[in-house]
């Protein structure tokens, strides 16, 4: 078991190999083999992840850091002590990420085999998927910020490639797809810039980018018991809390903890001195006051000397300021990758990609990278209070805004995209509240049910396309039907919910699994979403009511509203898509998707129901948990993650019915409200309008949601158009007017030309040309002359040989004379 962790690099290697094979031989292998390679690569990674889980449980959850063979050092500059390795980190956080990433990834590979059937770039698609998985796993498994950044950029690249995967679709659609890809890439670049700055600052301050050194543990409290059990004496674990550990033995997070500790100690001694002074003033004894003042002075001097100071360029920061800076820059990255305000606008457009991509990358895994980064750096965020407040507010606001916009969308995938943004907002808010476990918990449950919903929507789209195709063929057979058919054939959109309706009978498996996903997302007990969402709300309550911090109240309120919207727009979707009567021929002729697509749906539906039980809160029991707490244990995930989160940043809360019951009520209320508005066959009224749009009381608000709150328009007006104007100005005036017309033409061209004329003179006179050509001519002449000796006559050759013999003999005998 001890060496089991050594398999960790394989988890990245398998999908990398899969991608490699599919890139180079995929097109030749055919669809079956191509899908098989991709799926097996992904499945192998899942097995490796299981092996790593086994390693952790077998070794007291102590982390392992593995150097892959042949790749120990990546960037190494000894003079500045820089040594960045390709180390993979096996700890509870990375393993819990890899487990769901690879598991959901594998299911989506299977699904994609059916969904992408017949696509001309089928194998390329699987190559991209595998490549994405490899990068995602680098992101998750790396032991330093730079590896994480490699993965971060890599998944961004794959996301770009996959969003614009159908760049060659006819009409404007292909261009729209590639524009969506570019939008995603550019928005993410803005965030990536933040991450890069954060990395630079971290390295500048701490001299290392390693999260933790190989034998360092973040949370000594929980590991202590296991450390004593540790029989293998070759590994000695230590933490920042061990006094005799040098700063250089600590990774960046351990250093942060140590610096904070030193800083706090200085503050405490200063406070003590102030207390003594106050007491002395109370006594009124001049001598005592003088002594106490002297003590305060010396303590202040000591404290100032002891407080850690970081010189970043000309500026000097204390540890708190430094952490605030780093985390704020990280937050910029998070808003890009995890689609938060203000950079979230790319994610809805990213739905241009094939649906499996939306499910895997833009719902389940990649977009959680930002949250993962924050959970990974929990010690930094914990000690950066200002950032934490900002994070919490951004998350909660995003959750509400996106949830609101989702109500006004007709595109089935776009609704889910906004829903994803909204749920990511929940996670980000949780991080801001210091509820790192809750964030991870929601990330995991969300991965399952959102992947389920996306794949379900894919199945619906597939069914609709199939139905449309059927109608189309039908039309072709009977030309007279064309006149009867009133709708514009080219205007048909298989993703538009207005064309759907009544798919419940046509696609039963899709319906039931979609229903499971919806209920899970709405947060209805006992589905997964209930447990994870409840935990975030609970944390918000705790921060607000127990700690008395204002952001707790705000976040609690925003998230409750967002939860209500969530239930509402999801049930709206159910009513529009599955209930009522078909509103279009395509929906009438839709049919259930293939096994390869429905089986992953069923598996995911199972998890949407049960995955919430991995983190049952304490204080609740049978019958609400079906007795599973006896099997799984309470706070299973929390206890697991405790080994990766700093003790100060870790807290688990007990169940609170005062939160859970209103949350449940809000969820059910949202569903009932949606049912009353959209149920009973009035999902879309006769004029093709949403009932809320048709109702003058709500039309105004609804139209704002429909227009996506004008985010894109605002960006265009505020950023993009000015940007383009500035670019135009630079182009027209500076570049053309000055650089090209004047500088380029007058200075450069004329200068070069006269210089060239001067230099070309020898050429003109034929000197250099003559020399070069002459050499070639000479070589040819020499060759031509020498070849004449090759007469073709054997006897000539024999004579030459004989002459050679004579020459050799003479040459050999010469030295003897």
């Amino acid at each position: 078991m001890e060496n089991l962790a050594q398999i960790a690099p394989l988890i990245i290697l398998f999908p990398a190999i899969g991608a490699f094979i599919n890139f180079f031989w995929g097109a030749k292998m055919g669809e079956g083999a191509s899908a098989m390679v991709g799926t097996v690569a992904s499945g192998s990674s899942f097995l490796v992840a299981l092996g790593l889980l086994a390693y952790l449980t077998g070794n007291g959850f102590n982390p392992a850091v593995i150097n892959p063979p042949l790749l120990d050092s990546w960037i190494r500059i000894d003079s500045v002590g820089l040594d960045i390795s390709w180390q993979t980190r096996v700890d509870t956080l990375s393993v819990s990420m890899t487990l769901f990433v690879t598991f959901v990834g594998t299911l989506i590979h299977i699904y994609a085999a059916g969904y992408m059937h017949g696509d001309p770039r089928f194998s390329r698609f699987f190559a991209y998927l595998n490549m994405f998985l490899a990068f995602m796993l680098i992101l998750v498994m790396g032991n330093n910020l730079l590896m994480m950044f490699v993965g971060w950029e890599g998944v961004g690249l794959c996301s770009y490639l996959l969003i614009s995967f159908w760049w060659d679709k006819p009409g404007g659609e292909g261009i729209a797809n590639s524009n969506a890809g570019r939008k995603a890439f550019i928005a993410n670049r803005v965030g990536d810039f933040g991450v890069l700055i954060a990395i630079f600052l971290s390295f500048w301050a701490f001299g290392t980018l390693d999260y933790y050194k190989p034998n360092e543990i973040p949370n000594p409290q929980v590991s202590a018991a296991h450390l004593e059990e540790e029989t293998d004496s070759s590994r000695v674990f230590y933490s920042f809390a061990d006094e005799d550990v040098e700063m250089s033995q600590l990774g960046m997070f351990g250093q942060v903890a140590r610096y904070v500790r030193i800083d706090e100690a200085a503050s405490v001694s200063l406070d003590n001195a102030r207390t003594i002074l106050n007491q002395a003033r109370g006594t009124g004894d001049e001598q005592l006051i003088a002594q106490a003042e002297a003590l305060l002075e010396t303590t202040r001097a000591e404290a100032d000397a002891n407080r850690p100071q970081f010189n970043i360029g000309p500026a000097t920061f204390g540890i708190g300021t430094l952490l605030t800076l780093i985390t704020l820059f990280m937050l910029l990255g998070v808003t890009g990758k995890s689609a938060q305000i203000p950079l979230f606008v790319w994610l809805p457009d990213a739905m241009a990609g094939p649906t499996p991509v939306s499910a895997l990358i833009h719902a389940a895994t990649m977009v959680t990278a930002g949250v993962y980064m924050m959970v990974r750096s929990n010690i930094m965020f914990h000690h950066a209070e200002l950032t934490s407040i900002i994070v919490a507010l951004i998350g909660a606001t995003t959750a509400l805004v996106a949830g609101f916009i989702a109500i006004g969308q007709f595109d089935i995938k776009r609704v889910l995209a906004y829903s994803t943004i909204s749920q990511l907002g929940f996670m980000v808010a949780a991080v801001g509240l210091g509820a790192y476990v809750a964030a991870m918990f929601h990330m995991i449950t969300h991965a399952f049910f959102k992947a389920l919903l996306f794949l379900g929507s894919g199945s619906v789209i597939h069914g609709m396309e199939h139905g449309h195709h059927h109608v189309h063929l039908h039309d072709a057979d009977h030309p007279e039907a064309v006149t009867h058919d009133s709708h514009d054939d080219d205007g048909f959109d298989p993703q538009d919910m207005r064309y759907m309706g009544g798919l419940r009978e046509k696609m039963p498996v899709t319906y039931w699994t979609y229903l499971f996903g919806t209920i899970a997302l709405a947060g209805i007990w006992p589905f997964a979403g209930f447990w994870s969402k409840d935990e975030i709300l609970l944390d918000a309550w705790y921060v607000g009511f127990e700690k008395g911090l204002f952001q707790g109240f705000i976040v609690l309120g925003l998230l409750f509203a967002a939860a209500a919207f969530t239930a509402f727009y999801m049930w709206r979707q159910i009513e529009m898509v599955f209930h009522g009567k078909p509103r279009h021929e395509a929906a009438e002729h839709a049919s259930e998707s293939s096994r390869s697509m429905t089986i992953p749906l069923v598996i995911l539906a199972f998890f949407a129901l049960f995955v919430g039980f991995i983190n049952i809160p304490s204080g609740i029991g049978f019958p609400f948990t079906f007795g599973l707490e006896g099997v799984l244990g309470v706070h299973l995930l929390g206890d697991f993650l405790e080994y990766s989160i700093f003790a100060e940043a870790f807290n688990l809360l007990t169940f609170n019915a005062l939160i859970a019951i209103p949350a449940l009520a809000v969820g059910i209320g949202g569903i009932l409200a949606a049912r009353s508005v959209y149920g009973g066959g009035k999902a879309i009224d006769a004029s093709g309008q949403d009932p809320l749009q048709a109702d003058p009381n709500t039309a105004l608000v609804w139209n704002v949601a429909y227009a996506r709150m004008y985010w894109d328009e605002i960006y265009f007006a505020l950023i993009i158009n000015p940007y383009i104007r500035i670019a135009d100005f630079l182009y027209e005036v500076v570049d053309w007017g000055f650089l090209h017309d004047y500088f380029h033409d007058s200075v450069l061209i004329r200068g070069y030309r006269s210089m060239g004329d001067l230099l070309a003179r020898p050429f003109d006179l034929g000197i250099i040309d003559g020399a070069v050509n002459g050499l070639g001519w000479l070589a040819g002449r020499i060759g031509g002359g020498l070849r004449l000796t090759q007469t073709g006559y054997v006897r000539t050759y024999a004579v030459a040989l004989l002459l050679g013999v004579v020459a050799v003999i003479i040459l050999m005998l010469l030295p003897l004379i």
Binding site: R787, Q790, Y793, V794, A798, L802
Partner: protein, 100 residues
Amino acid sequence: MVEVEAFIVLSAALFILGAMGVVLRRNAILVFMSVELMLNAANLALVAFAWHWGGMDGHIFVFFVITVAAAEVAVGLALIVAIFRSRQSINIDELHLMEG
């Protein structure tokens, strides 16, 4: 007692004769025979030296040379026959399809 040099002079003379034959003759068979003459000149030298040194090496060498020469004859004559069959001539000066 004849000095070993005498044998060597004889063998050298035979060797040079053979070499001149190769250069001057046009008939493939005669060229080939000249080569054989050169080989036998070498044989003579070998035997003479073996006699001079009193060892077995030279003699063994000669036997191998004879064997090898036989093998060469087999191949050489086969080639010449093949050439003759296709061109009705074994004049090696006619063999100059390739040059330069």
